[in-house]
Symmetry: C2
């Protein structure tokens, strides 16, 4: 009979590892400086003691760092470690039966029962001698000396006990454990460590062509550069541009998406490519590649990272169509298949055929689009409709790019079915748009955000919350007036450590759809140049600037993982908190979801969890208005008028000091 390959003496079981995505098929995600909390079920047969370590390393390093795991309860073990550098890490778990600890614990019981014998100490001496063989130098010498003491025939029971149970011996034995039969988890798990911007970002999207100071004139990248201080002053840290490439002329769409364009219509930036170039060119009306590089440089000087739109589709006059006919699906009449959603036809757009025989050439070319823009200084990519391109491409492409540029970030614009959105995140997208635009009621927001921030989904899917986009003018914004914009902005910016707005349409309260029932903007910038009057008195810029400042100053708002919802006895008022560890920074947000009426209610906070004394008043300082409330106990009254500011962003401070807190009291 053949002996099993694996040594049957490896008696420890390691299972139920967390975090782990699809049994290790996909990495988990963290940002630089984050803590990784790993747990596993670890146990062995019988009553022997077990020891376990987590072994981790940056992927580039051959050497593992080991951290001892600690037993929690019910055979669950845990350990925390920090990831301090960009790129991929790997971690795994080793565990073994610890005969020394078993012996020592048994000995302590024997001593307690006064039933220890010299034979027991001889067994201990053997274990110590074996450890001495694994140790070196003075450690080994010292251990051998202890073993000899336990074997000394003239030793008293008292002295044997003292030697055997000493803390120094215990420490040294722990440092030289017998791991010959250790069990290793059968796989290494991967962590992708991104820059902090992956976890905490404030995006501002705008169309460069609408930035000319002169109404009716096509804006340029230089005009857009002049807009950057306005954006930076509002406190954003990512400025995102729709495609800046040449726009197709064949089947170009006119204003408000009309099928026939007028000669002076500028077309949709997502109909990419013309005789002027494709995905690696800049539309001449916007400027040159050099202008683009200047734009990136100026943004960087203002603390803004530039994100660009990557839309893998072409207009019929894109150079690819001539140069790489084989990348597109041909119809029996020899024409190329345009995009369709029958009976709708999108004749201005050709999709790539990811099943074409030269698929890998196509993959390489598409990857080179990213690297081209990386060479121009871009590190953040908002990817248009990634769910209409083959999934294996994304995993390959993003992994390849991040191996070289681990600071690169990818935002997935897939407003589609949940499992597809999650799959794209697993494949490597750093952030994802969400269903947030359509979650308006308290129950909806609570359910959805709880799923995103407290379940294993959060290990791979980072939400980026947008109240509007050029494609999404929600009904809530259409019918809710300026208060509705404030409500949705405040929710996005406090529920989402990552959030963004499409401006100036947002801060200028654009709420008219192209027709009733549509989520498309009237006179959408997608099809025409717009001129925006930023000096209007109802511009929300001040509120936005204030909230972004609050976000920048309060680390609690820079993560989604601590999000917790709290009861309010009014369905129109939502209350939630975010906090850092301990909690050293604790923010409670209260929002009136009703843009039309003042709402009031009692919020109920988990003071015990936050270690706030229920019996003493504490401070709730509204960072939006500067108002300072003195609250006491779990339940406190709130009232919010949508006509002024429909929310509180409360910084919770420790209890008010009383006389006995002061020196002169004593």
């Amino acid at each position: 009979m053949k002996q099993p390959q694996n040594d049957g003496r490896r008696r420890v079981v390691i299972e139920g590892v967390s975090p782990e995505i699809d049994a290790g098929r996909f990495p988990i995600k963290r940002t630089v400086g984050d803590k990784v909390h790993v747990e596993a079920d670890i146990f062995t047969d019988g009553h022997d003691s077990v020891a376990a370590v987590l072994a981790y390393r940056p992927e580039s390093s051959k050497t593992c760092i080991e951290r001892p795991m600690r037993a929690l309860v019910n055979d669950r073990w845990a350990v925390d470690f920090l990831v301090t550098q960009l790129g991929r890490y790997r971690y795994t778990i080793h565990a073994w039966v610890d005969h020394w600890v078993t012996w020592r614990q048994d000995l302590l019981k024997r001593i307690q029962a006064n039933s220890d014998t010299t034979l027991d100490y001889l067994i201990g001496a053997e274990l110590i001698d074996h450890a001495a063989e694994r140790a070196e130098g003075s450690d080994a010498d010292w251990l051998r000396k202890q073993a000899a003491l336990l074997r000394a025939e003239n030793g008293s029971m008292e002295s044997l006990r003292e030697v055997a149970t000493g803390a120094a011996l215990s420490d040294l034995m722990d440092r030289h454990p017998d791991r010959q039969f250790e069990t290793k988890l059968d796989r290494e798990l991967v962590i992708v460590v991104d820059p902090v911007r992956a976890r905490f970002s404030s995006w501002y999207e705008l169309f460069p062509r609408s930035t000319s100071p002169e109404p009716g004139k096509h804006g340029t990248l230089n005009d857009c550069e002049a807009r950057l201080p306005y954006i930076a002053d509002m406190g954003f840290n990512v400025v995102y541009l729709p495609p800046v490439h040449p726009i197709g002329r064949k089947f170009r769409k006119g204003k408000n998406n009309s099928v026939t364009a007028e000669p002076d219509d500028v077309g949709s930036p997502w109909a990419i490519g013309s005789e002027e170039g494709g995905h690696k060119s800049v539309l001449p009306a916007l400027g040159t590649i050099e202008d683009f590089r200047c734009f990136v440089k100026r943004a960087s000087d203002l603390g803004l990272q530039v994100a660009i739109d990557i839309a893998f589709q072409v207009a019929p006059d894109h150079p690819y169509v001539k140069e790489h006919e084989e990348w597109f699906r041909k119809r029996p009449d020899g024409t190329i298949q345009y995009a369709e959603n029958p009976p709708k036809k999108y004749q201005d757009i050709y999709p790539f055929d990811f099943e074409n025989p030269n698929w890998f050439e196509l993959w390489q070319e598409l990857k080179s689009v990213f690297t081209f823009w990386i060479d121009q200084g871009v590190r953040i990519f908002r990817v248009d409709n990634p769910h209409t391109k083959a999934f294996p491409f994304w995993e390959w492409c993003i992994t390849e790019i991040k191996n070289r540029w681990p600071e690169a970030l990818f935002l997935s614009e897939a407003f589609t079915r949940p499992k597809i959105m999650y799959r794209l995140a697993k494949l490597g997208f750093s952030q994802s748009y969400t269903y947030f635009p359509w979650r308006n009621a308290k129950y909806e927001l609570t359910q959805y955000l709880t799923q995103l921030t407290t379940t294993p989904v959060r290990e791979f899917f980072r939400p980026n919350q947008w109240p509007n986009t050029p494609d999404i003018l929600t009904e809530f914004l259409q019918i809710g007036s300026g208060s509705a914009f404030m409500v949705r902005f405040l929710l996005a910016a406090t529920l989402g450590a990552n959030y963004g707005i499409y401006g100036p349409a947002f801060e200028l309260l654009q709420s008219r759809p192209v027709r009733p029932g549509s989520e498309e903007y009237l006179d959408s910038e997608k099809y025409q140049v717009r001129h925006w009057d930023l000096e209007r008195s109802d511009n929300l810029r001040d509120l936005i600037a204030l909230v972004n400042r609050i976000r920048n100053e309060n680390p609690a708002l820079q993560t989604d993982w601590s999000l917790e919802f709290h009861p309010v006895n009014n369905e129109q008022i939502i209350c939630y908190s975010k906090h850092t560890d301990n909690p050293s920074n604790l923010i409670v947000v209260v929002v009136n979801l009703d843009p039309h009426h003042t709402q009031a209610g009692i919020v109920e906070l988990p003071l015990d969890k936050w270690r706030i004394d229920e019996d003493h008043p504490y401070q709730a300082n509204d960072l939006l208005t500067g108002a300072r409330y003195v609250w006491s106990g779990r339940r406190n009254y709130v009232e919010l008028n949508p006509a002024s500011v429909p929310a509180h962003i409360l910084l919770i401070r420790r209890r008010l000091r009383v006389e006995s807190d002061f020196e002169y009291f004593l």
Copy 2:
């Protein structure tokens, strides 16, 4: 740049497969004739249609059987198939983009919008021609003819539509799909198919040495054989014997586990081995191997399968100790380490050392113990304390044995921490003892049984519910009188499709512990011969026989997977149901958990789920008493007196017939 190994054109994703234990690391379990319901998340990029099949085969067969999966909702797909033979099966999933179905669905939309063109039909003709290449004979000819019809220049739009959307064409195209870029799940999942007895069994445990008709005399296997009709008459189908091997003499335990034995003390059957032999011998006082074979034969004639106890430990005088000193741990003084749980010492027992260098020889010898008894006709093994032997041994040993004897069953006697119990089940044990003996309150029973029967645990862990064992005389039985025995028996036999009792101690209501606070029986058969008066009038044999008959006649009680608890407005009354598919056999059980007082309450049943009309009376026939109740609506009154029978086992029948149900009404 190197092309990825996997063809990037495999666009379909398969994930979230269920059932699947630890990402396929362990098999799921079924019994012959069972249905396997498999689900998975299956989707692709874009809007193309997807098709999927489940491919399964008995492990011995090279050829897979394919069953098409059907889409449920939210990208979840499902399929059922039957496992009809003993042994291991394997299953996996293949899925692909179905361009034909995509084309056909798009065409139907175009036709509806009256926007179909001849070009659309030419595309269809291409797809059909490709299918013809994959088909043969008349199928291929017919497909080519259809393609030609779609290309016919003189065809009317009407005839094109008719050809393209015809059901016959659709059927034939489905039979010849284009699977060149199909995705295969990256693993085969395993099913262990056991005999039905693994799912449905009624165990009776007894000590053969207590079966002599003559008080004070050591019973033999022949005496035990004479007891078999008594057991068969009660309706059991497994008779389980504690170890029948020679019993060690060194450090033998006396009556009531006293440390010193009297010369005539018989010792514990679990202290295995003496000069008379070891694990492959029969204690001479019980008889011979031939007697044992006769016993198995006679049991079989009565419809009883014999289960024996396998306890892998030895008495100090077991032949292994001399022959294989290296299998045991030596102490520094040269003696062998006996079992301990400091400060307790079990000097009559030597455990095997699973870390010894000859571990694989030990494994092989232990396996040969099973095969020895298989050669004597045994197929069911109750394994003593498997959690104190190395886990890798069990997986290897059980797999080896079941590969040759797939009908073999293993019951794990591990009353230990939950994750260890589950691990043993994953490793191969067919059934497991549970915490049932200590679950008394309605909340406890509901929580525990719901976890065992409705979560993924049920895929690998089959509970076997015992109200008592030779080691476990629960406090509930000690303080509850005869009613307590009835309550616990009725719960075990109706909550557990697998259950057992240790008799005659159980049916003779033995309730005295060796001392207060202990769960050990006074004068336990583990240490002495007992004589039982089976003719006592309070023997529960009639109730037991009735309940086993009800179990045998009602398939609803032969599975745990349909178990559901129902509300009762009295914490002392528990109500639950089990049913077969449809449900064709539907049993509702109501038990008074209070052994001292009559309890009454209103039970609430999910009539809608069972498709019972709420507006018509229906029958609830008590199979225990023969009483026939007419119930109506969801809520009905029950009242149970523990002094008579503390439970209803109700067979629910369709509604009472009314005048219009009869022929003469019309």
